[in-house]
Subunit: 185 residues, 2 copies
C-alpha cells in the first residue's frame, strides 16, 4: 500500500514570533515546501490584542495552505519560565483554529522533532535549520529560527504521522476483519 | 461623580472545570449576582476538542451575560506545573473570545483577588467562598470552588477596575485641561 501524500502545517507557537511552516510529502519520499513565514505581534499590545492577531495570522495561513493536519510544538511548564505562558497561549490559539476546521492536531515535543530531523534529540537550532534546508532542497536556511522550527515540526509530523496513520489503518482493517488477503503494510 | 454600574464576567480558567461568574455593581455599593456556573470538558478528549468546548462555553456565557468587561485569572508558570499549561490555554481562549467582541480584558492574580475580597492575599478557598456569598447575599457558597473563584475575580474587578477607571478619567480630564471646576472624584 502506498501512503498518500499529506500536507502538514507546523506551528512553532509564540506571541512575539509564531513560526509557520507547511510541507507536503510522505514517509520515504522527497518532501516539498508549501510555505513558510512568521506571525508577529507587538510586545506592547495587550494580551487580548496579541492573541487576536495570532488567531488572524493562523487563520490566514490555514486558508492559504489548506493543510490535511496541523502539528504544534508541545509546550512544557518547565522550559523558559519567562515566556512559557505566552507560548502556551499562542499554542492554544493555533490548536483551536485547527480544531474548528476539523483538522487533526498533533503535538510533538522539541526533542521528538530534533530526533526526527537530525537523529539527535539534543541537536542545536543550526543543525535543525541545516537539515530542514537539506530535506526541502532550499538554497538557504529559513529565517528566523521559529520559521525553520515550524518546518521541522511539519516534517516530523509527515514522518511520524505517516507511521501512526499506517498503524491506525492496520488496526482498523484488522478490526474490520479484512487483514487476510489485504494489502497490509 | 457617581461611577456607573458595571457588569463584569470573571473566568477562573481550566480545562476540566472553567469557572464563570458574573456580577454587577460599582465600588462602594452592594453588588448583585448575574450568573454563575462551570464549563466542563472531558479529560479523555483531545486538547483540540477540549479547547473548542471551552470556547463554545465561554461564547454562550458572553451571549447570556453581555458583560462590560471580562476578568481572567492571571496564570503563573510557577504554580501547579501539572495542570498549568491547560490552565494557560483555557485562559487564552477566554481572553480571545472577549477580545474578539472588543471587550476590555483584565488579568488579576489569585493573591490580588483574595486581598480584594477578604483583606488577605493568602486567604484559603473557604474564606474566599464565604466572602463571595456574603458580598452577593447568597444563601449558600457557590460550588464548585472554581465558580466561587470566578465570582471573586469579577468582584475584584468591579472594585479595582472602578478605581482604575476613575484614575484614568481623572488623568484624561487633567490632560484635557478640565481639572478646575470639574466634578473630580
Amino acid at each position: 500500500m502506498r501512503v498518500p501524500e499529506v500536507r502538514v502545517m507546523g506551528v512553532d507557537p509564540g506571541l512575539t514570533r509564531c513560526g509557520i511552516g507547511a510541507v507536503e510529502g510522505r514517509p520515504g519520499a522527497p518532501l516539498s515546501l508549501v510555505g513558510v513565514g512568521v506571525v508577529r505581534t507587538p510586545a506592547d499590545h495587550d494580551i487580548g490584542a496579541r492573541l487576536l492577531a495570532v488567531e488572524a495570522g493562523v487563520e490566514r495561513w490555514l486558508d492559504e495552505v489548506k493543510p490535511d493536519a496541523v502539528a504544534v510544538e508541545r509546550v512544557f511548564a518547565q522550559h523558559n519560565v519567562r515566556t512559557v505562558m505566552g507560548t502556551a497561549q499562542a499554542a492554544a490559539i493555533a490548536i483551536v483554529c485547527a480544531a474548528r476546521r476539523g483538522l487533526p492536531v498533533a503535538l510533538h515535543t522539541p526533542s521528538e522533532v530534533k530526533a526526527a530531523i537530525t537523529g539527535s534529540g539534543t541537536a542545536d537550532k543550526r543543525q535543525v535549520g541545516m537539515m530542514v534546508s537539506r530535506l526541502l532542497r532550499l538554497d538557504a536556511m529559513p529565517k528566523p529560527a521559529d520559521a525553520a522550527d515550524a518546518l521541522a515540526l511539519a516534517i516530523c509530523h509527515v514522518w511520524r504521522g505517516g507511521a501512526q496513520n499506517r498503524l491506525a489503518d492496520a488496526v482498523a482493517r484488522a478490526r474490520a476483519g479484512r487483514t487476510t488477503g489485504g494489502d497490509v503494510p
